[in-house]
């Protein structure tokens, strides 16, 4: 889609998105723990403080006050972006996000909107242990009024974050820790913003639809490569946003492939993967010949590499599951 001429690092994409929107709109402000002078523990935001001064703020360790502060500022004329360092800490900020920010536009009878973005680093795979590795999507998705966006590529990260900042109501913007250092091709013709709530078919195929978000999309793409070698044409859909949810794109894909596999880094029970499958099944049941979810075991996330690696859904597991459920030759390489 892009006439790619350069590559962009995911963390830099996020930084550039914030900078561009702060440049464009002086009501955009940014705060979080160690995000200003130090530039963030994931080195996402160096330089912003130097450039935008008091609009970039180092906060105390006060996740709830941050979230509430963003809410109060958002309903009185600012467009705050705040960072919850690890998405696991969102649990401390949820009351304000869910009970105040997400409900404001509706409960105020549309008198006031609440344009805030909460950014957080999510995901396992780095041996950070059970309280620094979670995906917060299951906690956040069932909250009407709170958009949930998680980009898979640097280009998407930039355009979706810019859209999130411009959005008039709260957006949880989730960045996978394992993606910060990936680089993706981008081009001058890329759109400045991408609409929130629009999924993307990132690879076409006719035999099975693989659906995921964030890092999972990249795993699906690699799995699709390998499945292609085995004669299975996998279509890959990046849902990009879990609220609003673009079921149309998925239904259209499923109507073509008749098989759907959702890949989620998180539990099956209470997860977004089976939820999506249930929503699709209710509308497209007779299009489906087979459908299932590849998720994590129903335990907290273990630390040791020998436990965490097999805990995660990955390319190998996707290939194996699809190939075996579709009856394709069994000798599947894992990892590769």
């Amino acid at each position: 889609m892009s006439d790619a001429t350069e590559t962009l690092e995911y963390r830099v994409a996020i930084r550039e998105a914030i900078a561009a929107e702060m440049e464009r709109d002086e009501t955009v402000v940014f705060f979080g723990e160690d995000v200003a002078v130090a530039g963030g523990v994931f080195a996402v935001t160096p330089g912003l403080y130097e450039r935008f001064g008091e609009r970039v703020i180092d906060t105390p360790i006060s996740e709830l006050a941050m979230s509430a502060g963003a809410f109060g500022a958002a309903v009185t004329g600012l467009r705050p972006i705040f960072e919850i360092m690890f998405a696991d800490f969102l649990l401390l900020a949820m009351d304000s996000l869910v009970n105040q920010a997400a409900k404001y536009w509706y409960v105020s009878n549309e008198q006031g909107s609440c344009p805030l973005v909460v950014r957080a680093a999510m995901g396992a795979g780095g041996n950070f242990g059970a309280m620094h590795s979670q995906s917060p999507i299951p906690w956040l998705q069932g909250v009407p009024g709170l958009k949930v966006v998680a980009p898979a590529t640097a280009g998407d990260a930039k355009a979706l974050l810019r859209a999130a900042i411009r959005d008039d109501n709260p957006v949880a913007f989730l960045e996978h820790k394992r993606l910060y250092s990936v680089k993706d091709p981008v081009g001058a013709g890329d759109p400045e913003v991408l609409p929130l709530g629009k999924a993307a078919v990132v690879r076409e195929g006719t035999d099975v639809t693989l659906v995921s978000i964030s890092k999972g999309v990249r795993d699906c793409l690699r799995a699709a490569d390998e499945l292609a070698e085995r004669g299975v044409g996998a279509e890959v859909v990046d849902v990009r946003s879990l609220r609003p949810l673009d079921t149309e794109t998925i239904l259209a894909s499923v109507a073509k492939t008749n098989r759907m596999v959702v890949v989620e880094e998180g539990p099956l029970i209470g997860g977004w993967g089976a939820n999506l499958l249930g929503i699709i099944a209710a509308e497209g049941l007779h299009d489906l010949d087979d459908a299932w979810t590849i998720a994590c075991p129903e335990t907290p996330i273990p630390y040791s590499p020998t436990l965490e690696d097999p805990f995660m859904p990955d390319e190998g597991k996707i290939v194996h599951a699809v190939a075996s459920r579709l009856g394709v030759a069994a000798e599947i390489a894992t990892g590769a």
Binding site: L64, A68, G72, S108
Partner: protein, 329 residues
Amino acid sequence: MAEKTESKAPGAEIDAEGARDLYRRMRLIRTFEDTVQQQFQKGNVHGTTHLYSGQEASGVGVCSMLREGDKVAGTYRGHGHSIALGVDPQKLMDEMFGRATGACGGRAGSMNVVDLEQGLIGCFGIVGGSIGAATGAALAAKLRGTGNVAVAFFGDGTSNQAYFHESLNWAQVERLPVVFVCENNLYMEFTPIENVTAGAIGSRPMAMGIHTRQVDGNDVFAVREAAGEAIEHARSGAGPAFLETMTYRFVGHSRSDPGKYRKPGELDEWKKRDPLILGRKALEERYGIEPERLDEIDADVAKELQEIVERGLAAPFPDPADGGKEFKA
């Protein structure tokens, strides 16, 4: 916010006209609350309500010192905060009645009223929510350079909760123009505040170096004066101020309240210091206003409320097709 213009004066001195307005507004709140209570019993107000009766001087005193553009965050006990700030009582009653003409079209109800035109960024059903929100509004005021302040109302029991601590600290660190008004009515629901609170509430902001004062919350003139100083402190850029208004709730905590927790004689003692009685006394003594003039105000307000109820009960309910529509924003 016409009624707040008189407070543009730097101090809290007020003329007879202004004093009469303060009294009227307190009476309006009291009669409003009595009416809500009656209408609740008749089944016209739904869910639950938390009345402000007895605490009127706190909200009226504080809000009378605010300026255009200042923001207020009230609580679930927010009818008083709303009316003190200038929210149209008709719109407020219609909201209680669940009508389309309500302040929030019937979507919010008693605990969650928003009226942005009046600077009421919200009433907060979640204890502590008002503190965090006002702190955010003060951040916006500071960064936008509006010269405005934000006020958070909250109760004594709320001082034991997360929002209180985190927001006070952040506000002081950033020297935000926010005034924290702790309405200490001695009880957290049915529990005496001292049973669940370590030390004096005011010592907490003081420990953070926040400008702190306690005031007789039933004397609207005293509240005005103290609030004026607190607001001035915040507005000047010196950082947040904390005002503890000592008051008492004359009615149940909410619609269902065993009421057994009050100390014997306590309610009667406080009723002697009813903000309306104190208000009348001050108006008569300090401004030479005759009792009859005040009775006229009372009668006038009673009539106003009667009409409000009539109009409110005649107002249309919201259309379910609106309320249930897809959440777009």
